[in-house]
Amino acid sequence: MREITLSQAVNEALAEEMRRDPTTFIIGEDVAEAGTPFKVLSGLVEEFGTERVIDTPISEPGFMGMAVGAAMTGSRPIVDLMFGDFIFLIMDQLCNQAAKIHYMSGGKLNVPLVLRTNLGATRRSAAQHSQSLQALVAHIPGLKVAMPSSAYEAKGLMKTAIRDNNPVVIFEDKLMYQDKAPVPEEEYLIPFGEANVKREGSDITLIATSSMVQVAEKAAEMLAGEGISAEVIDPRTIVPLDEKTLLDSVKKTSRAIVIDEGHQSYGVTAEIASRLNEKAFYHLDAPVLRMGAMDVPVPFSPALEDITVPTPEGVADNARKLCAGELIHAA
């Protein structure tokens, strides 16, 4: 199978869906000729014109709100938010408006829009361009949240998101834009709420999102050399969450670590770990561990920044301890 980058996968998904559905358009900062700073959208304006690939002023709440209004009246906007950190600028339009309009209207109004943005530290971009804020939006009922872990997921999830009748937030890992993965030439969609078992194992389950799937896979590889069999699961969407696949795995392995690049406290890892504790308690031989980013603003200095995110070594170390019964009281 051919291999393409995550960036190309997103671009293909957008182009295919925009050809398929004339009500779609892209709106955001420097999306047209510039193709975004990450060049993910390069070429789209040439095909679809500036009417459907719309450059805006630097007015995030403004264009987010306009996307909501366009979505309510028949369009399917794809909003490009240059950095995930800018979610704080659009919170009212995303969380008070987009997320609630279907419910507040008793189901009469729909808001079918996609918010494309990114996450991920270690790009030496400091505290306002490095955050992974998926927990913030996952907390708000009415929003769906997709977290692709490779080019394959990025394409399939994006196509599903564009066809969904709800506001969907997609976080792409900005460090993975140039990473290649096998992506079929023929069309495919990845349904929401279906986790992917990336690697089967029997001793411990590593549940990892987005950028952390690679980290978990590397940890699993290290552990395999030591005789520890780790299962790696990528939920792919955290809202909706495929609880069943996660629970089935944990019931089999009896141990789990949940890894996500958002801050650990009150985060995605906490939510998933809590559900496992509530629903698989008697199957567990060890507390479910959370591994998120440290609870500090992301520092600039490489010497500091690299310490803040989970690493394969850190995951493997915790997995060894859980399997050896060393962390029974550590959770």
Partner: protein, 329 residues
């Protein structure tokens, strides 16, 4: 998209409909206030009384295909855009037959069938939505116009300036209708707004107009012209409508002399009431007799009483509805 011809104000029928709609709003609000005072309504509501000529003057210049976005003080917009009393009172009382199945309440009534995209409980929260609706119209080649209602208080929100900038850059068919009732919640507008409101729109190259919001014909006349120009791609426009809210910020804001005097309220009610003024005009012009007007008022009063009784007796939504409509299929 096919459009009905915009209504004109040049015949008796249109004038009487404008009068009727203003009285319907006032009557709706009087009944809503009673529901609050008699503790029959859950929560609070914000009365539109006094501002009727704004909503009616504007909405009578629109068709059902034209959209509006409304505010927390939104019952007037909802009635003026064509909503029914029954579904409105049901919504205010949290009943299943309400426009939003009781899930929105007073501050979130939306009436999709008449192009009302909904009231909004965030001050200024719908400016992006209105402008986005206009963007959709332009992209699709639809000829509908969107009117964004907001108050003077909302002019302090930054979102307005972001979306006016884009609307002006892209010539979007949107009319920003600022209902300046002189008070930003419990504070005089002059204490929160520097300079001129219309000048702010003009800074973006948007044509802005100041109009007497108590004169329904003046509002309607101007809006008809602006709507027609919007349909020709000459939007956006900005309107500042000078008006007055008779009640407090909300129904519970009763002792309000610390921020505005009873004399001031009395002056607006006695000398500038939009319904009294228009009624006088209709009689003077021989469009209706006092008797015909009284009969119309009585009929509207009865409609409201019946709708309130209906809503009071109507069932609440079943508990199973609580997690319905979080996500669309």
């Amino acid at each position: 998209m096919a459009k009905a011809k915009a209504k004109t104000k040049t015949n008796t029928e249109d004038y009487l409909r404008m009068y009727r709609q203003m009285v319907r709003i006032r009557t709706f609000e009087d009944n809503a206030n009673q529901l609050y005072l008699s503790a029959k309504m859950p929560g609070l509501t914000h009365m539109y009384s006094g501002e009727e000529a704004v909503a009616v003057g504007i909405c009578e210049a629109l068709t059902d295909d034209d959209r509006i976005t409304s505010t927390h003080r939104g019952h007037g917009h909802c009635v003026a855009k064509g909503a029914e009393f029954k579904e409105m009172f049901c919504e205010l009382l949290g009943k299943e037959e309400g426009y939003c199945r009781g899930k929105g309440g007073s501050m979130h009534i939306a009436d999709q069938s008449h192009g009302n995209l909904g009231a909004n409980a965030i001050v200024g929260g719908s400016m992006g939505i209105a402008t986005g609706s206009a963007l959709r119209a332009k992209l699709n080649g639809d000829d509908d116009v969107t009117v964004c209602f907001f108050g003077d208080g909302a002019t302090a929100q930054g979102l307005l300036y972001e979306v006016m900038n884009m609307a002006a850059l892209w010539n979007l068919p949107v009319i920003y209708a600022c209902e300046n009732n002189g008070y930003s919640e419990y504070t005089k507008t002059e204490e929160i707004a520097a300079g001129s409101l219309t000048a702010r729109a003009e800074a973006f190259g948007i044509e802005a107009f100041k109009v007497d919001g108590q004169d329904v014909l003046a509002v309607n006349d101007l809006t008809q012209k602006l709507v027609a120009r919007c349909r020709k791609g000459e939007g956006p426009f900005f309107l500042e409508l000078e008006t007055y809210r008779y009640h407090g910020h909300h129904v519970g804001d009763i002792n309000r002399e610390y921020y505005r005097s009873k004399d001031e309220e009395k002056d607006w009610k006695q000398n500038r009431d939009p319904i009294v003024r228009f009624r006088g005009y209709l009689v003077e012009q021989g469009i209706a007799t006092e008797e015909e007007i009284e009969a119309m008022n009585a009929e509207i009063e009865k409609d409201a009483t019946d709708a309130v009784a209906y809503a009071e007796a109507a069932p609440y939504p079943d508990a199973s509805e609580v997690d319905m409509h979080v996500y669309a299929d």
